[in-house]
């Protein structure tokens, strides 16, 4: 039984480069760490008027 037709391959030059994907992943991790550290440290104490 034949499977579904193969999805068209996205040409290499039309995909986001690897450095973009890696950088975006690192940024997401850093933002998560930032939020966790600030929440664990008692919220935004000292940052607000």
């Amino acid at each position: 039984m034949s499977g579904s037709p193969p999805r068209p391959e996205v040409p290499d030059d039309e995909r986001a480069p690897r450095w973009v994907k890696v950088s975006a992943t690192v940024a997401v991790v850093l933002v998560a760490v930032f939020v966790i550290v600030h929440l664990a440290g008692g919220g935004m104490a000292g940052h607000t008027p």
Binding site: E14, A16, P17, W19, V20, S23, A27, G41, H47, T48
Partner: protein, 178 residues
């Protein structure tokens, strides 16, 4: 928006590079003051460091951050690079916006420490958490701004879907590397 004439492109680039590297240098000085404020045992040094940090922040760092952001956007829109066509431009924009927002937020603890330092000595470990936080924040800012500078020089490849569509609609000459 059509591309700037060459003289305007170079003038805008000069302002943008000066502002962004000036921002980096000012943050490095801010970091040095933050470290001095934490580790020094001399009350006058501690007091002076935190007062200088607040002054440097509002008088130098915040204006340069704003100028970097504005000139970066203006310059990208006035050149063939555009603002949304290349991933490295978008990455720089995100770094600059995030760094500017976090800078404004963290000027609050800097002002709090300056007020505390002006009233009394901080050499006894008072507000230590906030003092360490400012060091960490300044160090992170240095890393972020160096990353932005590296993106400007290396301009890693990668065009967005929007950029490729614009390129197909209106082929443009390859951007000249400044």
């Amino acid at each position: 928006m059509s591309a700037f004439p060459a003289w305007l492109r170079k003038a805008a680039l000069t302002v943008h590079v000066t502002a962004s590297l000036g921002w980096l240098g000012a943050v490095a000085a801010f970091l040095a003051l933050a470290v001095a404020g934490l580790v020094s045992s001399a009350p006058q040094t501690v007091r002076g460091a935190y007062v200088a940090m607040e002054l440097t922040g509002w008088a130098v760092i915040v204006p340069l951050a704003g100028l970097t952001l504005v000139t970066g956007v203006v310059q990208s829109l006035g050149t063939v690079w555009g603002l949304w066509r290349h991933y490295w431009v978008i990455a720089k924009l995100l770094i600059t916006v995030l760094a500017t927002v976090l800078l404004l937020v963290h000027m609050q603890p800097a002002g709090h420490l300056a007020d505390a330092a002006a009233r009394a000595s901080l050499a006894g470990g008072e507000l230590e958490g906030m003092r360490i936080q400012l060091i960490a924040d300044a160090a992170a800012a240095v890393v972020a701004l160096v990353t932005a500078a590296a993106l400007s020089v290396f301009k890693p490849r990668g065009m967005t879907r929007y950029g490729r569509r614009r390129q197909r609609e209106r082929p443009l000459p390859r951007p000249a590397t400044p």
